[in-house]
Symmetry: C2
Subunit: 148 residues, 2 copies
């Protein structure tokens, strides 16, 4: 059912339905933030053969069809997610790289408006919050105060 759903979405986007594409979308729905490499591994774990190149091709096709989104926090390889068209943002842990979604920031509309536009036609405002996840906060704390 979810699978039929995916086939339809692919066709509606003018994309052929292939085993590889079905598997990639499936993987991304189950694992909300995956690198190209992680996608490849998980697709293969589902029993679907796929080349590295095809992973990139499929991800690019899905992205330009608007079925997935690519983000790329500084210092990280590209990361793909199936949650799309809701302009959510991300919080990234500086230590372990964990990424979690943030529905939206407080003053949402304001964030789409730079104070000076310099003539740019802005179509997206991307917000990334940097910090430490709960687990890494504990590790950092014990590396400072508690180790005695």
């Amino acid at each position: 059912m979810a699978e039929l759903d995916i086939s339809e979405q692919l066709r509606e986007a003018g994309l052929r339905v292939t085993r590889q594409r079905l598997a990639v979308v499936r993987v991304l729905r189950e694992h909300p933030h995956a690198t190209a490499d992680a996608v490849a591994e998980r697709v293969r774990a589902l029993g679907v053969a796929i080349s590295t190149q095809a992973v990139y091709d499929v991800l690019a096709a899905l992205e330009s069809a608007g079925l997935i989104r690519r983000i790329e926090p500084a210092g990280s390889p590209g990361i793909f997610e199936a949650r799309v068209h809701d302009n959510h943002h991300h919080m990234v842990c500086r230590r372990c790289g964990l990424i979690v979604d943030v529905s939206c920031v407080v003053g949402e509309a304001a964030c789409l408006t730079p104070s000076e536009s310099h003539g740019f036609a802005v179509d997206e405002a991307e917000v990334t919050f940097w910090g430490l996840c709960p687990a890494c906060q504990r590790i950092a704390a014990s590396e400072r105060g508690e180790p005695r």
Copy 2:
């Protein structure tokens, strides 16, 4: 004078003053958004010999001393800037990669506050505006409507 200034800043940060470091800082003050590669070229154009590795070493040292900042818009290599400690944001052209600074977004304080924190200790909110610069808007327009 600007040079003396730089030497002092390096020493205050506990860094030795070398020709390479002086030149890198100088280049970054003159060219506000440069890749490691561009920095290397311009340092050499000043008549200062520097290896690729040293460029990365120097940039990393300056960054952790807080004298420069590294940003990395998705799809772009790392970019370094000397404007620091004023938490400004960036506007990036999707076509040509041009980056311009944006002093701050409208509802500034709000942008440091994700709606759900998930236990994260957030220390920075990074905002990137994506769009088309004036020149690329013109090109895009002529690629659509006007070319007949």
